[in-house]
Amino acid sequence: MKKQILLIIVMSIVCSGCTNLGVQPWERDLLAKDEMSLSSSPLDSALDDHIYFSKEASSGGKGFGGGGCGCN
């Protein structure tokens, strides 16, 4: 139950400011750079996901975490 409350609080904080946030289309110079992409190194992420999926009890979060190999 604590987790659900925490989730709602985080979502509320994130959402409450939405209307005041953001940029105009001509202000996207920095955001448009490759290194500002939320998945700027997809191959690194794929390789890391495979390692940590094999060695730890958690997976996913950023993307889908299920299945794929018999390494766990």
């Binding site: 939405c18 953001g22 202000e27 920095l30 794929a46 009890a57 794929g68």
Partner: protein, 441 residues
């Protein structure tokens, strides 16, 4: 070290185009049914390649190659094809505890045995596997603010087959400053382990594997040759541009795994009050696991450097909770090169059925429904320290090198260590080196 002469440098663009042309032909031919055959003049395939080496001290070593081909069509439709090949070899903990004398274990196949020296953590050194994985993903705008994506996945290794599909829909709001997305994936995995599926809590048969009745006795510890599991994931995403320098993402994911979740190669030691192993039994895990996670990521552009910071909280119905903090700072060095330090911290609690060993008296009086000594579902802390160096080469192509150190420290979740176990290392640490080269063209 510079090994390329001026003459060779002059030849590189031609050679590079040839490689790209060859890969383009190969890729379009391979996926002719999916991709339209386009003329090479368009030349809008992008290739990313990576080679990774993963090596643990005294344990597993793995090599992995990824070839990713991406084609962007008119109207922003994107086809992404990915081939992954990896090979793994080395030793893996079998779950038994160290003892002050030599221990003998039977290999998972039932063919032969191996000895572990006194005081050593029992490792089975017969692990070797090669895996080939193919992914195809199609992404396209559906209307001005809607983007759809669908993909397929197939992965095959010697004893494992995984087939999966996924779909995702993203909706942009407020001049694309806010994006909501919903995605789902479904995997069907089939496991055909060497030696078959062991009977839960059956004693490991140890003795003369060349004896005439060995195979018959070994078969009594098995319940089948293969088993399967399905994984259903739902992922809700929310992305928000904060200002000119910052973007954030919040994801919630729900994952339901059903089927065979036991590791057929893992055993538990049954110890007496003196901590001496009396028996080894095959582990048993529940047939369902529901995992949930909340993931928060932010990208922040300082004057020149970019900070990528993320946190994941995961919890499941096996009572495992984990916290992961990951940060990368990209520092430009001029002329397109950069260095990127990486720090990752991970901490997890133990599954409610995890036990480093089982007490003989408890096991005989009330056998647990589930038990596993796999340290990967035990209490653990881990960290990764890494450095990446990237540079521009050959007309703007990207070349990067990554070197990382990964340290895992399983910790005691409050189990007593009776008798001789007090003097044995029950929670050995694991150190690994990760080295990677990536080239994009």
């Amino acid at each position: 070290m510079q090994l390329i002469t001026d003459k060779q440098q002059g030849e590189i663009p031609e050679q590079k185009i040839n490689i790209k042309a060859a890969l383009t032909i190969a890729t379009t031919a391979l996926f002719a049914g999916i991709a339209q055959a386009d003329t090479l003049e368009e030349d809008n395939w992008e290739f990313d390649t990576a080679f990774l080496l993963y090596s643990e001290v005294d344990r597993v070593s793995a090599g992995e190659v990824i070839l990713n081909a991406k084609k962007t069509y008119a109207d922003e439709e994107v086809l992404n094809l990915k081939l992954t090949i990896d090979a793994l070899t080395g030793a893996s903990a079998n779950g038994a505890v160290a003892q002050p004398y030599v221990q003998t274990f039977t290999r998972p196949s039932g063919n032969g045995q191996y000895d572990i020296a006194a005081g050593d953590t029992p490792l089975d050194d017969t692990f070797h596997d090669t895996r080939v994985q193919l992914n195809a993903q199609w992404t396209q705008p559906i209307s001005s603010d809607y983007t759809g994506s669908a993909g397929i996945h197939i992965s095959k290794e010697y004893d494992y087959l995984s087939i999966g599909i996924n779909g995702n829909l993203a909706v942009d709001f407020l001049q694309k400053n806010t994006t909501f997305s919903i995605g789902a994936s479904y995997f069907q995995d089939t496991f055909t382990p060497e030696g078959g599926i062991p009977k839960p809590f059956a004693s490991m048969l140890i003795g003369d594997s060349s004896a005439p009745d060995w195979h018959e006795d070994f078969a009594k510890t098995r319940i089948g040759t293969e088993d399967d599991k399905t994984t259903t994931d739902v992922l809700l995403g929310f992305t928000q541009v904060i200002n000119r320098r910052m973007i954030m993402q919040f994801n919630y994911s729900y994952s339901m795994v059903d089927g065979y979740l036991t590791d057929p190669f893992k055993i538990l030691s049954i110890v007496n009050n003196e901590g001496l192993a009396q028996d080894y039994v095959y582990e048993n895990r529940p047939e369902q696991r529901i995992k949930q996670s909340a993931y928060l990521q932010s990208m922040y552009h300082f004057d020149t450097t970019v900070l990528d910071l993320s946190y994941r909280y995961m919890w499941d119905d096996w009572d495992i909770e984990s916290h992961t903090i990951d940060s990368r700072l990209r520092i430009p060095l001029g002329t397109g090169s950069y260095i990127q330090p990486h720090v990752r911290y991970y901490q997890q609690s133990a599954a409610n059925f995890y036990a480093p060993y089982l007490m003989q008296s408890d096991f005989e009086s009330h056998r647990p429904e589930f038990a596993s000594a796999d340290y990967r579902i035990g209490e653990m802390t881990a960290y990764t320290l890494g450095l990446k160096y990237g540079m521009k080469v050959n007309n703007g192509h990207d070349l990067s090198f990554r070197l990382e150190y990964y340290h895992q420290a399983p910790t005691d979740a409050g189990f007593e260590a009776p008798g001789v176990l007090a003097n044995e290392e029950l929670y050995p640490t694991i150190d690994a080196i990760i080295a990677q080269v990536t080239y994009s063209f």
